[in-house]
């Protein structure tokens, strides 16, 4: 009986923790989460997962002259540094025009199994036109040859 008493505090603490956790658990319907899901696309492969996040809707001030994508690559085996994203990637607008990236900035935290960085494309083409205009209902980022060709498609507003 005495032993049980000793546990009352811990049991009460755990109960409060659980109630708080359930009460505060972020739901999937929050506006920020929905917005982020719109920006982030995931491609699961056999052994390599690639996540592409379109950054401009939230970080336009950071990338005033480029369309930027935060790319994450994850695997459990093998070396992800064999892939040259500048070589393998392109952006395709709604009319099928293709644009090559201008810059890849590798994260300091990248290593063989978890690699990340920012892939950027010029906003204006050689004729001075915006490469992704409002008339494009969708645009796609393609990364070729990482197990297979990965396509990430975003709908424009």
């Amino acid at each position: 009986m005495k032993i049980k008493k000793e546990y009352y505090g811990v049991i009460a603490g755990i109960a409060v923790l659980l109630i708080l956790a359930l009460y505060l658990m972020p739901g999937d319907s929050g506006s920020a989460r929905v917005a982020e899901e719109d920006m982030t696309k995931i491609s699961k492969g056999r052994g390599i997962q690639i996540i592409a996040t379109y950054l401009n809707p939230k970080y336009e001030d950071q990338f005033p002259n480029s369309f930027a994508f935060y790319i994450q690559m994850n695997t459990h085996s093998g070396d992800l540094f064999i892939y040259d994203l500048l070589e393998l990637s392109y952006l395709q607008d709604g009319e099928g025009n293709v644009y090559k990236p201008i810059r890849w900035t590798e994260s300091d935290r990248s290593w063989g199994h978890h690699r990340s960085g920012v892939l950027e494309f010029q906003k204006i083409d050689e004729n001075g036109n915006l490469i992704l205009s409002k008339k494009d209902k969708t645009f796609r980022l393609v990364i070729k040859g990482i197990e297979f060709d990965r396509e990430f498609v975003w709908k424009t507003r």
Binding site: V10, G13, A21, E36, T40, H76, S107, D108, S116
Partner: protein, 202 residues
């Protein structure tokens, strides 16, 4: 007579050695499971990211084991103390393993487990915090057991001035508050959080 001697402060270095040994074993277990399921490089990165939780977790567990050995060496075989160390050791180890659980699913491909394990790994700091807080509570419970058993040493003698039962409940409340605040403020490491951490906080 032997009990009396122990109660009046005659001890050995065994509890200290057991405590240090346990802390080191828990730390090596964490490092080993991360290295085996991913790589040594990954284990080092995890340690670099969460050293401020992993080290207190290992030290806290070591203190608990040391206190348990001290209580046991006093010939007051307390089953509750044993259960406390077992429970806290489980929480400490579990919270350390949770951060690499998504790698374990490579060798244990149970349906649905992968998503759960990935979710767990997104909450690594919170899980490690639960381990640290459970250690705090466990240490105060062990000290209360020592006090109730009337074990006196140079260290525990000073604890007679305070009511460890009250301290224990205070620590439970503080632990709950710390966890609640951490949970509210914590942002899981989704893509945007990682981007901000890697590129905007330089």
């Amino acid at each position: 007579m032997e009990n009396e001697m122990n109660k009046t402060g005659v001890g050995s270095h065994k509890p200290v050695i057991a405590g240090i040994f346990s802390a080191v074993v828990l730390f090596l277990f964490y490092f080993g499971i991360n290295s085996l399921t991913a790589s040594v490089e990954h284990a080092i990165i995890q340690l670099t990211n969460y050293w401020y939780l992993i080290i207190p977790l290992a030290i806290g567990f070591g203190i608990q084991v040391g206190l348990f050995m001290f209580v046991r060496s006093s010939n007051i075989c307390d089953a509750q103390a044993g259960r406390m160390v077992t429970a806290s050791g489980g929480v400490s180890t579990g919270s350390m393993v949770a951060c690499c659980a998504h790698h374990i699913t490579d060798v244990l491909p149970f349906l649905g487990l992968s998503a759960f394990a990935t979710t767990l790994s997104n909450y690594t700091p919170l899980l490690l915090l639960v381990g640290v807080l459970s250690n705090m509570v466990g240490i105060t419970m062990m000290l209360e057991i020592s006090q109730n058993a009337g074990i006196r040493t140079r260290i525990f003698g000073r604890l007679d001035r305070v009511n460890m039962r009250v301290i224990k409940y205070a620590v439970v409340v503080i632990a709950v508050l710390i966890f609640a605040i951490a949970y509210v403020l914590y942002k899981p490491e989704d893509s945007l959080t990682l981007f901000e951490k890697e590129f905007l906080s330089r």
